[in-house]
Subunit: 339 residues, 2 copies
């Protein structure tokens, strides 16, 4: 595979799954100690990567869950963050300025803050109540953050007796199979990634849609990969919202990407899949159901749909940066100029 370090990737994803026992124990401890809500608080893309887990809790758990932007909480405040809050704060670098400020804000209010970071010797690792460190890099962190936040959500639901279909241990056992299955999925997808990158390398604009757990990946891939790392314009739009405005932009030649997952919102993406090809030839459907995952149950597949998408899309990014002669690490502004 093009520019792919397999052992490194396997290590990072196995590292994320390997945090299962610690995540379970931290969550159980906080709930035993009376935590009354859980707050996911990540800046920008990494905040988005918490959304599938937050959404799982929102639809299936009665524990109040909040997703709050670090930059907003510091200026707006929130009556929900206090001594009975468990705050989950992700940051790959461990240094994101807004999150460092928000962590201090949460601590002042007595909240317990658990950080998910890529590096231990950083402010977000050192100033947290509990710091869960798993090294990752930009190109490999989506999957690992999705997995870690999923484990948080499952641990909450286990502690509250809200897991129905499968036990926490059952899911973890299947997640342990995932790193090598993801590598196989990437390998199988590589020719499609190369061909699609070739086809779209000069395309200046993409509408990207998803629903349920695939919507955050649509949002993330648009904003954090195509916009930030390739300077390509995107319009991430939820598959439900798509029909309330953005659909009018569709005409011949307009690129529409549809991310299909295997959770209950799949029919919402299928509505777009039925509509868009009638009006443009430039429709790309990326469907997790095409990925072979022996040993993984349908229920677990529905939980890891965004992980699968991220794994496949990384292959696309890898080809795009080469074909477009635009390294994924090049920035005009981010962390280069002050704001």
């Amino acid at each position: 595979m093009l520019n792919f370090d397999e052992p490194r990737y396997l290590g990072i994803q196995a590292g994320a799954v390997g945090l299962a026992a610690r995540i379970r124990s931290v969550v159980q401890d906080r709930l035993d100690a009376g935590a009354k809500n859980i707050v996911f608080m990540g800046a920008g893309g990494v905040g988005t990567l918490m959304e599938p887990a937050a959404d799982l809790l929102r639809t299936r758990s009665t524990l109040p869950v909040h997703t709050i932007m670090p930059a907003e909480v510091v200026v707006q405040g929130s009556v929900h963050v206090g001594p009975d809050s468990l705050v989950i704060m992700p940051s790959l670098s461990g240094t994101t300025g807004e999150s460092v400020e928000a962590l201090a804000w949460c601590k002042e209010r007595g909240a317990t803050v658990v950080t998910l970071v890529g590096h231990g010797d950083t402010p977000l690792a050192e100033q947290a109540d509990v710091s869960l460190v798993n090294f990752a890099a930009d190109d490999t962190s989506c999957e690992s953050f999705y997995l870690q936040s999923l484990l948080v959500a499952l641990a909450v639901m286990e502690a509250r007796g809200e897991l129905a279909a499968q036990s926490f241990d059952d899911v973890v056992q299947q997640l342990q199979l995932l790193p090598s299955l993801l590598v196989e999925a990437k390998r199988a997808f590589e020719p499609r990634a190369a061909a699609f990158a070739q086809r779209i390398k000069d395309e200046p604009y993409h509408i990207i849609t998803g629903a349920g757990s695939t919507w955050p990946e649509a949002f993330y891939y648009g904003m954090c990969i195509l916009e930030e790392m390739q300077w390509i314009r995107t319009r991430p739009v939820h598959a439900s919202d798509f029909f309330h405005g953005t659909l009018e932009l569709v005409e011949q030649g307009v690129s529409v990407w549809i991310f299909k997952g295997e959770d209950s919102s799949r029919p919402l993406t299928e509505r777009v899949e039925k509509f868009a090809p009638q009006y443009t030839d430039e429709v790309w459907v990326l469907d997790t159901a095409d990925v072979d995952l022996p040993g993984v149950s349908q229920e677990t597949r529905s939980l890891v749909s965004p992980v699968l998408l991220a794994a496949l899309l990384e292959r696309l990014s890898s080809h795009l940066e080469v074909l477009r002669d635009h390294p994924l690490t090049t920035r005009r502004y981010y962390k280069r100029v002050a704001y």
Copy 2:
């Protein structure tokens, strides 16, 4: 003012404010009866118009608040919607298919559903537990829906003793001044609207940002006006997220719109205002603080920032449709083709 029916506008906005007493009594009754959460459930743009109210509750009230898309709740479900839920369901037409389905879904689960509609003889009016009817049209409904949902939020906070600075009656008294003040604001803004429409009429793409209560208006104006009604590409992005990806698209000639309001998130929009003009000349700042509102307190101004923005932006739309020879009512697909 161009294509503006002043008495009609005044009637619609006064009608929204005139619902204050009924909204207060419905909300009080439901909370007295033991409602344990409130759920805003609107499809597409009108769902977005509930966001400032939901956000006010999220930051200042301890009543659990949820915003759920009708299309999603029907397929995904939600453990939160049940006999103890007060569901607020807005729909201008009263006929939105996804909302009709979601209403039935909510009723089956025993929730109390209050609909906010523009027409009484419609499924969403007739099938609701309580239907609050205020006629409006596409070009005038933003303000009225913002106002009605604000009244819902204030009624919740009053009932729970969570209103600090001003009483419900105080705010309503000021809101009664608003319809004619909004007309004056439009009149004062008219020359700027005309000039700006002239300047951007051929511009194919705008990044539109806001924070706090102005973020939903950025999202709404991009998706429901420029995309749906003018077929112009937009990238609505929260002012915090802007710095985590979308900023890399900014270069000379790229249009960036910044919606500034008067709530506590104002500093987040000011960060974009400081950044963007260094890299592109095409920055447009629309600031509610420029609007004269005699008799309205600073606290109330902060609550109605999105209402002010919507009132001003309607003037821009009105000039755009004429200059671009593209009526705001023309659609390629919406309600013309099945999906």
